[in-house]
Symmetry: C2
């Protein structure tokens, strides 16, 4: 299977759905809607929505049924990047090779653009269809919990607080579970739910997502050290400069690499009950690991 | 009827429900949950949740059924204040007589606190009970739309953009409809929906809310000019200093007062179909108008 070309196909489908759901750039207030579109269509890889769609397929569902979940998750992901890049947070001027939202539209509009994308995620997800096992409110509740103060935002705050501090391995795991693994795990769970998957399959996919998410963040941290800004599309070496709590900072590069491999293995093992239907997800797991080595 | 004492009773009920739903201040990350509680329990008047509960009663519903809607709305209101007070927005140091969230917890945590309260609103609302006419997703969708880029956030962006600009009456109305009237109208609509109100009653209450919201914002703008910071509990005279688009700035004080009265009258007229059951809401309308004159 060609993972890259399947990802590219899903990328296009997700983009055209997002294009349908986001108000046009000419909608009043134009600045806000332009900024929302600038942020969402900024060359992201759409990995989370692709995993959501792949999870739906792996559970015998239709892509179209998973699309509201996929797009809601991408809106949440984008909002978290827009806020994360603000001067009062990570203070990044560059994201995916382009100026960040606040550099183009100003800080006030960037805060509100993130707020609007976060809110829009719930609006989009409220359009999902219920299945035999799952009501629409179940989807919305899962999203609110994963994106909330105990997971995504909790991880962001812990990340901010850990700057220039000595961080324990368990504090580091708390940060990574929250700021990265929670939304990847959610992507797979919502995709499975949209396919009316049995609770056991939802759990297996959530476990895959959590561990893949941990591996993903470790690899991201390694790339921040190893690559140039140009290849990375964002400012490289910023983690070290900001005294960020990263795997390489706590464990060193070599141990970080082996941890990324270990977490990916646990992730792939979790897919066993799904058999051959999860081959694309396995391919994504391998692909994410290989982007480094 | 003693409107003030009924409002005080509802205030207490809302506070105790919010206290149950917000994670304790000791929940990890402690800074975030402390900041969420600091922001929510900052002496707000709980007008929006009170109107939500009053609308439920006016439609023959129970307070407890409307409580998730009331608390969700207060979370949204608080998040919008926390973000609005940020240095990159209105740059306010004082709110309800206390230092604003970013003054106490820093800007980064304040952005994330607002994000967390916005997200929590959807989590709380996902616990509402469906009624015969309205599914849980209907409540969530209404919230997402009213708090989204076309209404609440749209109004905030238009407000930011109007600073130091010449503003037309219709641009001013767009701002006020979005940043104030949308959420007040939503409060009444969700309260009515929780009571399984007929669509016509929901519309009547929404109309009451929209016009009361417009009157409310005009009065707020007048108070900003007329009162001292001490009485107001927030920095007074800031609108003029910031070149804000306000009714007094566009129409002058006298015309602004008469507009507040006019909008309140339209609001009260909208309650006619509800008869005597809406007396408390009428009392709130009069009370809000009288806080000025």
């Amino acid at each position: 299977m060609n993972v890259k070309s399947r990802l590219a196909t899903l990328h296009k489908k997700v983009d055209s759905a997002l294009d349908r759901w986001l108000p046009s750039a000419g909608t009043k207030p134009k600045t806000l809607h332009s900024a929302m579109r600038y942020s969402v269509f900024a060359g992201g890889k759409r990995l989370r929505p692709a995993m959501c769609l792949a999870a739906a397929e792996a559970c015998g569902g239709r892509l179209s049924a998973a699309m509201p979940s996929a797009c809601a998750i991408e809106c949440i992901h984008t909002y978290s990047l827009v806020h994360d890049d603000l001067p009062c947070m990570d203070d990044d001027d560059l994201r995916r090779g382009r100026p960040t939202t606040h550099k183009v539209f100003g800080e006030g509009v960037a805060v509100l653009t993130g707020d609007a994308l976060l809110t829009m995620a719930f609006e989009i997800l409220s359009r999902t269809e219920p299945t035999e096992r799952y009501e629409v409110k179940d989807f919305l509740k899962e999203l609110a919990i994963s994106a909330g103060s105990l997971q995504l935002i909790g991880g962001q705050v812990a990340d901010l607080e850990a700057e220039n501090q000595k961080v324990t391995p368990s504090a580091l795991e708390f940060i990574h579970l929250g700021k990265t693994a929670a939304m990847i795990s959610l992507s797979l769970r919502l995709g499975a739910m949209s396919a009316n998957a049995r609770p056991a399959d939802c759990r297996a996919l959530a476990k895959f997502g959590t561990h893949l998410g941990l591996a993903f963040q470790i690899i991201d941290d390694i790339l921040d050290i190893m690559q140039t800004s140009e290849r990375l599309g964002k400012s490289a070496g910023k983690d070290v400069a900001a005294g960020k709590a990263t795997y390489p900072a706590v464990f060193g590069l070599e141990k970080s690499r082996s941890e990324a491999v270990r977490y990916t293995k646990i992730a792939l093992q979790a897919l066993k009950p799904l058999g051959g239907k999860a081959d694309f997800l396995r391919g994504i797991g391998d692909y994410l690991l290989e982007r480094e080595f």
